[in-house]
């Protein structure tokens, strides 16, 4: 049977076996992605957003190991691929942009060298053709005077320029999937706007799928079609961008949206923070990992992990509250509104 999904992850479990004990970095993570789709993964540091994306490329570093579930990417079964096979697909079918462009470019090679390396490894272009291609790529990512830039070293370029070079390297072989791991966190807002604009332009031109890993809800709101909200190694809520922003079902998602200050607020509103601190992944709580910080925590939340509740085809969460609503036959929207009122009264 033809697999129509570009990425299909089912019940992925991934652990880091540290001297202090097993850290369950990913716990039953499942999602699917179609070709050309833009998925945003949001969450705090340590929530497992990068690990999820890296595992698609087989970039799980020791002492991390996949302990369960299946990952399929573009017809490949990632679980049982060898390092050699990974080398075939990395850069070719899937590539990545890292957060800090200074540390991910090699300081002792010229920019041209690093772009041409990828092209020559994955295609049978000769030296001259590779150089031409590199020049085209730099022009594509909006770098002027590509001829001159090819001969420069990374330290001669600004942060925004370096990130453009990274994007050029990532796109050298026109991958089907581009993983962007916080690509703009190290950049200033005006440069961030340039890079995001560029990524959306390129997606239109080349039609690749993008996984956008970020902690900035603003970025996913403007760029992504689907959003996965991660907390403590789980996708606690998944849905279309509109689902997540206008009809959030998980208490963590609601908390996140409420806790960011809005630029267009007329009067001074007090922020509603999520109290407490992120989970200690070495000793996670027995039930829902968010329970200790959740305002609507019930007894069952502390004991058992909630099952998945679906709202429509795409949108799902893992929260006992949604189960309860279903169980009591209450319309979920209504009770959400009530809860919102209660919160504001407090």
């Amino acid at each position: 049977m033809e697999n129509k999904y570009l990425v299909n992850i089912e019940n992925e479990r991934l652990s880091f076996f540290t001297p202090a004990g097993e850290v369950k970095a990913l716990n039953d993570v499942s999602f699917k992605m179609k070709e050309g789709e833009v998925l945003g993964i949001v969450g705090e540091s340590g929530s497992g957003k990068s690990v999820t994306a890296y595992s698609i490329m087989g970039l799980t570093a020791y002492p991390g190991r996949l302990v369960g579930g299946t990952i399929e990417f573009n017809g490949h079964h990632i679980n049982d691929m060898s390092e050699k096979e990974f080398r075939e697909i990395r850069g070719n079918e899937v590539s990545i942009i890292f957060q800090d462009p200074m540390t991910s470019l090699n300081p002792v090679y010229t920019v041209g060298n690093q772009i041409e390396e990828v092209i020559r490894l994955h295609t049978n272009k000769n030296k001259h053709e590779a150089k031409e291609r590199a020049k085209d790529l730099l022009a594509l990512v909006g770098i002027n005077e590509p001829e001159k830039r090819l001969k420069q070293y990374p330290h001669e370029l600004s942060g925004g320029m370096r990130q453009r070079v990274m994007i050029a390297i990532a796109l050298a072989c026109e991958p089907k999937l581009l993983i962007a791991d916080e690509p703009t966190t190290a950049l200033d807002v005006t440069i961030q706007a340039q890079i995001l604009e560029l990524m959306m332009d390129l997606r239109e031109k080349l039609g690749m799928a993008i996984i956008m890993i970020t902690h900035d809800l603003g970025i996913v709101a403007s760029m992504c079609e689907k959003i996965a909200v991660m907390y403590a190694g789980k996708i606690v809520e998944y849905g279309t961008t509109d689902d997540i922003f206008y009809n959030p079902k998980h208490e963590y998602t609601k908390g996140l949206i409420k806790s960011i200050p809005r630029l267009d607020a007329k009067e001074h509103e007090r922020l509603v923070p999520i109290e407490g601190t992120p989970v200690d992944m070495l000793n996670p709580p027995a039930g829902c990992p968010f329970a200790p910080r959740c305002d609507s925590c019930m007894k069952i939340c502390l004991r058992e992990m909630p099952p998945v509740t679906f709202f429509g085809d795409v949108h799902y969460t893992q929260c006992w509250l949604n189960q309860k609503e279903e169980f009591e036959g209450k319309a979920p929207e209504e009770s959400a509104v009530e809860k919102g009122k209660e919160a504001s009264n407090e």
């Binding site: 005006t190 900035d216 960011i260 200050p261 007090r270 923070p273």
Partner: protein
Amino acid sequence: MSNYLLEVERLQKHFPVRGSVLGKSKHMVQALDDLTFGIKKGETLGMVGESGCGKTTAGRTILRLHEPTGGRIVYDGETIFDKEKKIAAKMLPYRKKMQIVFQDPYASLDPRMTVGDIVGEPIDIHKLCESKQDRYDKIIGLLERVGLNSEHANRYPHEFSGGQRQRVGIARALAVDPEFIVCDEPISALDVSIQAQVINMFEDLQEQMNLTYLFIAHDLSVVKHISDRIVVMYLGRMVELADSYELTMHSLHPYTRSLVSAIPIADPIEARKSKRIILEGDVPSPINPPSGCRFRTRCPYADEQCAQEVPEFKEVSSGHFVACHHLDRVK
């Protein structure tokens, strides 16, 4: 007599660039030029700008952690620095009134001191407590004030999360009962869900202790939330200063406008509607800043006049200051 708690006038800080091993340095990094503003008692003045625009230098120069290379600083009616009149007051008494919270809570706490000692250090320096018991009580009081408790006093910084460490940094700043605090990007190293906690705490403390803040950050939406007025910096100069709502909603300077539009809006429908003003290029080097208006190399309205003259920082409506030659054309 002005009613400002802190006033700075044409404050300037240039750093020498190290030249060759023997030669004297010829170049200067013009980190800060012509900074002029006042902060009223109990007010929060926000300061935004991109990296390298001089906002951290401004905060530190005001506290004279960097010695200014020009200008004047007046605190509570007393001149603490004046280049022309060659006044440079001893800072120790003022350190009790002016404090700072640093950006990186991982780097600003000594890893070999317990949290209790970190918070207690300013108390010892200024000899604020007579007996050991007094000192202990004061430390516990401070920790509780920032949402920690007495058992945290004997622990070391590495045992705390980023948010908790920042609370320790704040407790240390509060130890001397200051009037004025420079908050130098105090939340940019924290996770999103923790940022809101710390922002709320800053607001609570301000109310309880009648504090005055200079709140420095690169995130305009955070600055807008916490500040009464905002000053926007670009390459060491002020470009716009106004009431925070006025500045974000009716900004006049082309740089402020692009800054406001560049912020990703956490609302999909609004985000689809909004039109970003994308600036070309990068921030030029402060060693060799553009002549005239420093923004002109990236400004869509720039012309000959912008290259010739430095635009005057003038009041266009009540409390709204802008430095631009072409306000009539910027629409």
